[in-house]
Symmetry: C2
Subunit: 387 residues, 2 copies
């Protein structure tokens, strides 16, 4: 008999930063007191610092989809022409949201695993100068690809449109120079690189986007950017905040600031690199054409259902890795790197993967994938490896 510890190895929820988790015990706090206002103000200020922007950064009691909803219902009007880049399940969510609100969306769709290239966005913008918004995922969690946000931002910047980026798994895993590149709206979620449980959604708003809020006519109430901005400036949230999660967020942000956002991103990049190298050693094929560092999607070996690997992790090691989503279910599995993951996690994941593959008939030389991870560890400067 051996113990199997429960481990979250998924691209959200991610492993929790323990002091942040424990901070939730202090949630017998009233949200209209100076104590809470100080905690909330401090969390919002740290959030802005972690976002790395001079734009306003707002927080909602909701999951990330709530902030995606807010970006549409607050900044657009029925019939507005927009471009939606759809490279997977979360791109499809933008399609659904813009459709729900009656926007006139030109959907730039690619196969799962692929990315929407800047030239397609450029052509679409040229074809429709009245385009008011471009929607995209920084990191498409369902397939592990990363979009070329900087280049696309450069294209959108010189038009009348705003660039709305779902960076729910992008923040903390890839560089996102919000102000330098011109990302008008950037959506984040608590259960990703922020290392805390789900229930808070974040959203940054550029001056250009704020102007959209002045003329947009779609109805909304709970998700109100203007109201939330006004409340946030007063150290409050418009409606009762999810206090326990705000306390957790404050603690996690302190850790992220101490670590440094650049180091957190480098950590994800190193773990993603190590995962890719391990996969190569193990004869596994990567799924993403332009792989990002939030999650690495890998094709199951020929003839093996990826469910076997997901189930293997669960039953053998108590660990939860992600299956493919939607039509990718059974074909790929996904290993996450965003937030509170380290090399020791990666050693364990790859060692486990080797055993599971071998037990299911895939030829594996034990330790070969782990060695690839170890080499990436060694190649990283000690200073960087500890980041």
């Amino acid at each position: 008999m051996h113990i199997r510890k429960q481990r979250l190895l998924t691209p959200g929820p991610t492993p929790l930063y323990p002091p942040a988790l424990h901070a939730m015990m202090a949630s017998d706090i009233h949200h209209r007191t100076e104590e809470f206002r100080n905690a909330y103000r401090s969390a919002l200020a740290d959030l802005k610092e972690v976002y790395g922007t001079a734009n306003d950064v707002l927080c909602f009691a909701a999951s990330g989809t709530g902030a995606m909803d807010a970006s549409v219902s607050n900044l657009f009007s029925r019939g507005d022409k927009v471009i939606v880049c759809s490279a997977g399940k979360f791109g499809e969510r933008w399609v659904d949201i813009t459709k729900a609100y009656g926007l006139d969306a030109n959907v730039l769709k690619v196969e799962y695993g692929d990315v929407v290239t800047p030239d397609r966005v450029e052509a679409a913008l040229k074809a429709e100068p009245a385009t008011k918004g471009v929607f995209i995922q920084a990191s498409e969690t369902s397939t592990g690809v990363e979009h070329d946000i900087q280049t696309i931002a450069g294209l959108v910047k010189n038009t009348e449109a705003i660039f709305v980026v779902d960076a729910i798994t992008g923040i903390g895993t890839m560089p996102l120079d919000i102000d330098g590149w011109g990302l008008d709206v950037v959506v984040g979620g608590s259960q990703k690189a922020f290392m805390i449980p789900p229930g808070l959604a974040f959203l940054s708003v550029s001056p250009k986007a704020w102007k959209f809020a002045d003329t947009a006519t779609l109805p909304h109430y709970y998700f109100s950017l203007k109201k939330e901005k006004k409340s946030g400036d007063a150290g409050e949230s418009s409606w009762t905040p999810a206090t326990s999660l705000v306390m957790a967020l404050g603690e996690a942000l302190k850790y992220i600031k101490k670590t440094g956002v650049a180091n957190l991103i480098e950590n994800a990049q190193l773990l993603a690199l190590a995962t890719r190298e391990a996969c190569e050693e193990l004869g596994l094929e990567l799924f993403a054409k332009r792989p990002g560092s939030s999650v690495t999607a890998v094709k199951a070996p020929a003839g093996m259902d990826s469910k076997v690997i997901v189930k293997g992790f669960k039953e053998r090691f108590g660990a939860i890795i992600a299956n493919g989503q939607g039509s990718m279910q059974g074909q790929i599995f996904r290993m996450a790197h965003l937030g509170y993951f380290d090399f020791a996690d990666m050693f364990g994941i790859v060692a486990g993967l080797e055993l599971i593959l071998r037990a299911n008939g895939h030829r594996v030389e034990l330790g070969k994938g782990v060695a690839a991870v170890q080499r990436v560890y060694e190649s990283a400067q000690p200073k960087k490896a500890n980041a």
Copy 2:
């Protein structure tokens, strides 16, 4: 020197049930696993039992206002004629929400402290047979009044309209026979009688209300009753759920079921009665014309700002009681009874109140208010007093 324990004596957030708080530590759980589905299914089933209805009961990652928003954006169309009963700050929230979504609202407004009487609703319904909805608070938290929900429900029941009840502080503090009376939508929130931190909103939907969902045309996405119903039936939430709060909710609901909802309500009623008797002994005037049992609003003695009392509790005893809201600030203070409050809390609150009043020039015979609470305690059957 003496210790001053932090105590939440407010009508939300309310005192937390400790095992529910601790259950949040188990939030390293993935929401698309059978473990979580079981926890979520069980919480939804218990929630339905505590609601006491055969209607569907849905849960959202949001504060209560989110579910209020959902009831409008999912069940109505722009221009729909509705009646809004407004007896305080939360009645005004219905006014704001129905306005934000372009409904044609006939607002039945009363002064703070008063209630909207059934005859006014009856007249308004007769004057406009095309009325599609009646909005109300079961308990108006800002003033402590309770509306006559049963009688008004009887009036709405025989019309084409649905009855939408904000029972955020009503559930668990007053009888609400959802099915017997015909309450079509009943909104609840986690940080009230449910004894857990804020961040979850609840909403029950009657068959009559579901028919409205079929023809309603207002846009919405994050808050989708139909989608949430479908997800809930599969043991999931539509979007990433606030797992930590769902774990807490499950634990709190077990306690509430064990206690019995009727007993929980009786507890609030006894504490409210005790508070009213204590106020009479202390020469304080109640604010609510039809006082409910979720919160007792009391006028500050003539010439005294109620802030003095709120501040006194905070500085002398570390306890947070509620000031008046909006235009009532400075004039009233509010003592809560909803959820995890007991007689010992009430002894402490009234004893503290006596000291604070006396220190601020109000004539008080120490212990006189407490004795009134003690007498209510004695008058309650031991079985009931332990409820």
